[in-house]
Symmetry: D2
Subunit: 412 residues, 4 copies
Amino acid sequence: MTFEMNEKTKALRAQLIDFMDEYIYPNESVYEKQLNEGDTRWEVPPIIEELKEKAKQAGLWNLFLQSDEHGPGLSNLEYAPLKEIMGRSLIAPEVFNCSAPDTGNMELLEQYASHEQKKKWLKPLLEGEIRSAYVMTEPDVASSDATNIQTSIVRDGDEYVINGRKWWISGIKDPRCKIMILMGKTNPNADRHKQQSMILIPVGTPGVEVKDYLPMYGYDDAPSGHAVVEFNNVRVPVSNMILGEGRGFEIAQGRLGPGRIHHCMRLIGMAERSLELLCKRANERVAFGKKVSEQGVIRNWIAESRIEIDQARLLTLNAAHMMDTVGNKIARKEIAMIKVIVPNMALKVIDRAVQVHGGGGVSDVFPLARLWAHARHLRLADGPDEVHVETVAKLELRRQAEIAKDLPTVTV
Amino acid sequence: MTFEMNEKTKALRAQLIDFMDEYIYPNESVYEKQLNEGDTRWEVPPIIEELKEKAKQAGLWNLFLQSDEHGPGLSNLEYAPLKEIMGRSLIAPEVFNCSAPDTGNMELLEQYASHEQKKKWLKPLLEGEIRSAYVMTEPDVASSDATNIQTSIVRDGDEYVINGRKWWISGIKDPRCKIMILMGKTNPNADRHKQQSMILIPVGTPGVEVKDYLPMYGYDDAPSGHAVVEFNNVRVPVSNMILGEGRGFEIAQGRLGPGRIHHCMRLIGMAERSLELLCKRANERVAFGKKVSEQGVIRNWIAESRIEIDQARLLTLNAAHMMDTVGNKIARKEIAMIKVIVPNMALKVIDRAVQVHGGGGVSDVFPLARLWAHARHLRLADGPDEVHVETVAKLELRRQAEIAKDLPTVTV
Amino acid sequence: MTFEMNEKTKALRAQLIDFMDEYIYPNESVYEKQLNEGDTRWEVPPIIEELKEKAKQAGLWNLFLQSDEHGPGLSNLEYAPLKEIMGRSLIAPEVFNCSAPDTGNMELLEQYASHEQKKKWLKPLLEGEIRSAYVMTEPDVASSDATNIQTSIVRDGDEYVINGRKWWISGIKDPRCKIMILMGKTNPNADRHKQQSMILIPVGTPGVEVKDYLPMYGYDDAPSGHAVVEFNNVRVPVSNMILGEGRGFEIAQGRLGPGRIHHCMRLIGMAERSLELLCKRANERVAFGKKVSEQGVIRNWIAESRIEIDQARLLTLNAAHMMDTVGNKIARKEIAMIKVIVPNMALKVIDRAVQVHGGGGVSDVFPLARLWAHARHLRLADGPDEVHVETVAKLELRRQAEIAKDLPTVTV
Amino acid sequence: MTFEMNEKTKALRAQLIDFMDEYIYPNESVYEKQLNEGDTRWEVPPIIEELKEKAKQAGLWNLFLQSDEHGPGLSNLEYAPLKEIMGRSLIAPEVFNCSAPDTGNMELLEQYASHEQKKKWLKPLLEGEIRSAYVMTEPDVASSDATNIQTSIVRDGDEYVINGRKWWISGIKDPRCKIMILMGKTNPNADRHKQQSMILIPVGTPGVEVKDYLPMYGYDDAPSGHAVVEFNNVRVPVSNMILGEGRGFEIAQGRLGPGRIHHCMRLIGMAERSLELLCKRANERVAFGKKVSEQGVIRNWIAESRIEIDQARLLTLNAAHMMDTVGNKIARKEIAMIKVIVPNMALKVIDRAVQVHGGGGVSDVFPLARLWAHARHLRLADGPDEVHVETVAKLELRRQAEIAKDLPTVTV
């Protein structure tokens, strides 16, 4: 019934904090500079590969993996404080081979892929040699409802033929991205949750067309980007099917829980860094004759931010612990709860920091505007708030209906 | 790094839940009825003494006490889930001898009183034979700032003479209330925090005048009530001084931490019960052709309430754990944080429940309006929100100033 | 396209403000004192009849009436600033014969009653000689949906027989209350909005039983009160039917618009008075070495309150103007909008004032706690927020659907 | 005491709406396309000059000007509904020669410039032949407090020499921008509000260096942009001084009122367009088996948005009317009130629309993300919220202190 980190986590966290101080924060501007120096912004800044090498050597690698074959093997509860630290910089997670969508894809492959599939794609992903994309969302339907998906996967002899139109395919423009995991429908007439399948499509397969990227609040998120991708009679061997036809929904469900909590852990780090910047700025800046940090409303923002961050962190740790002990399915209410509250908390805290930074806050002088835009899209990615609110409401009403059997009904 | 209750707490909690189901909830209306049957409402409803006897025999007695001489001896972290259960009914805490202001007064006496003082006043309080009042707040000054206090305690030979005017003296109208602990100034010229002293004044001492009670949103809170009390040349022996002249501020500080967290624990129980009532009602009521629980906004309220309660509970447990491990002084930021957020959380949840109950919600058909009023006064009792917000801001800025030394300053 | 009051309104407003200063505010405590001096609180404090006489002589009488036969004959837009002034004191509206439910009942009778009915009941109401009750809400159904109503009105020869159970019948305990207007069903098999009828039932008719009053957040609202009323085989002559069988829903709709806007006007006055008290207190009180009014958060509350009140007033004036020019039916979106926003605005402003007044705020030392409770019940009276939100959403979506015909659909 | 537009405004508004439908909305994508086709994004898309010509011929030109020499000559109250319509598209205001910073600069020149200055710079601005920049904000100080400004203007014979560093100079990268109005200090030892002066600096004057642009949430706002500009020994003739040395603060104050209300009018248009898009999308999109517009929370958002927009519009009209009738100085509380509430209102409404549009909302498929970023910077431009909140609080407390003289002080 206590809340402390165990020794293993403490040690890794201390190591990670040092690494961030020494290698990450000072290189954020280097990364940005290299990105602008290339012929296009769709080339990988060399600094990132240098940092990856250092992180690997330091053993700060694949921390997200629960199995201990390719990393330290951490539970969700152990990983949470580490992912929070990484979340403080948008360039950090990749350095530790802990960035979406690769993490979710690696987990998926480890859990559901065949031996051959693992050898070909999981291994280089674990080594950080290639990157990957997760191809699910479609522009024409509300994709938060997976049963809406329209992309078709049709068997034709030894091949599957894929046709469809997807968007928000993050990372697809990265030159290192070599493999896509696509969700489509193999059988539109099957049971509602048996229609979908997941299939591996190597980048460069004929018929795959990457259209222009989708900016996010004006940011291109280069070199990864988010793009519309069209699939026109794309053919892959039948051995690229993951787990089997009709298993797509099941795989997607398994992938989502960890993905959502990883986002939340990162968001807590973003909020924490924003509060740090807010306090620093408020202490340095004078307006109308007194320090900004001495002004009542700013002090309120600081106190509220402190409280909101701490509440969100505890709720996230609680969800992590539930996932570790009773499993992702039983913990789905707890996962939905953090997916609702944590992005909204982070947006509030970051926005207060933006306001205190004035013109610098809304521009690129500080990382705040970019952090805000990133956090904002996390109210939509992996399901919009409304879907998760509905999950919480449904499960809570179900629980309360049990309790209510014993309650008297009041009459007037 | 986990959040479960230990076995001791689990067992007591199960016992407590059963006791609430069997004896407390069914007797809430009995209590109200007996209160209205007396000649005045300032008589003790007999049911309360009957229930106290049952609780004592069940060993559910003095659970708040950390020493195990007069109860099970629980840490704050162990007590929190129990006090939450008690908090679900406004009549419950007293039944388990766990109600304010007696709890704080007992802790104070146990910690600071002389052997003689303990024998005379602490013992019957621990037995639940008498009740007590805590006499601090004054109507003419902002009492959240203890240095404002004006009541004088002047030594005259073997006696102290007390003069002043106090208000919000809770419980003073209860016929079982036998002793007051008063804070006043013995030396207005001493250092700012050495001017105050605490002294014991038996109820009935000449010169003490209890004026009319202060209603709280229309509630008289009988038979305890809150009243204005005047002290005109009230004389008590010097042996009634607690700890010594000039120690009042120090004692007050020691009393406040536990008092504040106990309120928070109770508020979580109030919120939880309100959410329970909300869900039950929403499932039973039909408007415009569908169940209230199927309407989108109500589902949002349910999800938000679930999230807000769970966050508040975790933050409260965290504060409890800090108090247990690093002490109330170091944990004062954590205590301030919950004192800000928990009453406001409870007010939101209760108010949503009120709205779903319509006319019954704002009246006495359900306990909701009364719970709301009680929770509302807890945004003021033991310091208004603003004071605690300021504490959080000050301590967070201090912490951040340490961190900031290592941060680079950005120039444009 | 300007916002000034016309000369007629300005003159009446100035007169009203003087009257409030001279007669109303100083007598609020007299009223309370007389109320407590009677044998029960259900007797009329004599001061109220004295003040009514003065108001009548001053021509500040029946200001709510749009016809100029019994008052100055004001439009909604002219009445709004006057009702706001009255709203500043809970005892004021009655003094000017402008208090609910009499106002709505008088409007109803003037518009729909027969000559005989008017002579018997409308005339003494206009003179302020009697009071009345409006008997609509039922405890067992969501009465915001009028089609839920279950009380039966069955014709039996020359009489109608009424059976049913009603609650929240305001004013019924006032000894001057002589007549009830009840809504029930004459034909449960008719079209959905033709089942209901309204009928006059004199207080004291056999079979009418007034049960205990319903407190509102602990307030009894004496001498008017709110009560449960039972109707057991209550018989009245057929001539007591208003307008005719099956016309009840139509009459109710006509009554509601003005009733709702009158509440909103009053609420603006309550908020304005609360802000006045807040500022006064903040200027007088010192905490932690500086005036409360110099503390940042309090200044924020003041600015926000000023903005919120002014916005709410303008929206209310806009609704009043719409009602005057295009009629209550076309203005129903505007009426719904203020019915949602104004009580919530008032609650925020009053609650801030409560907080600044500390213990005095939640008690009866200042009028704030009582004002809050009154404002809170107005989020339910005449339909809960949720019903009005739904009205606004429905009408706005309808309007937007028209516009949308001309908008291009974006495809990705 | 009514709220209708007069005939003149109605006619212009109808004309404007038609123009927007015919020429503006369909050319938003053309504008964006041309911007991307140029060698750099810092060239003017030809479509804008074509549209300007059309607007000029239609008489929809210089609508912001109160004098009727160069346009229709409208009061603030008449202009407000027109500027709202223009505000619906980020490219529209320029088409009607009604875009910042030119509008403020033209007003400034018209009011304070010499005949020669007007001939040289005001005339081509009124004709839409050139554009201009307003050079005030500095990166190193809190520029919301104008007395902080550090740029120096030193007389040297027949010239002034300017040295300093400015930022957020909007429009400076536009190739049509020919003139800057700079605020600096001529005498740092004069009275606090007499130190500043305003001076004209032609673009291209030696010593002026335009540094890289400042993105705003990732947007470059090309071809206008916002940039850092350095002034190193920049020399202009003494005849370029506006009004005289030491008059800068006075001029700045005169410029601010209209600038702020124009922003607010535009923001209402942005919010209105966003609500339109929200409703359209919600009606077209299906999720989990029902239309998004039928889901409870979305309906709440629609109703709240409707209410919030209407309140903000009325408050803005009220401020416009005050400015027209009692002058900008007396109306400064009203101006501050809208500058606080309107950007925040718009942000809420736009963000709800973003959420309903999912991935398209945060990207460039719809104009929403860009509108949001634009609205967000208006919580900082022309003074951050906090400064205006403080203005409202100060003026309201001053007003209340007058009232309070007549109020009794309550003692307990």
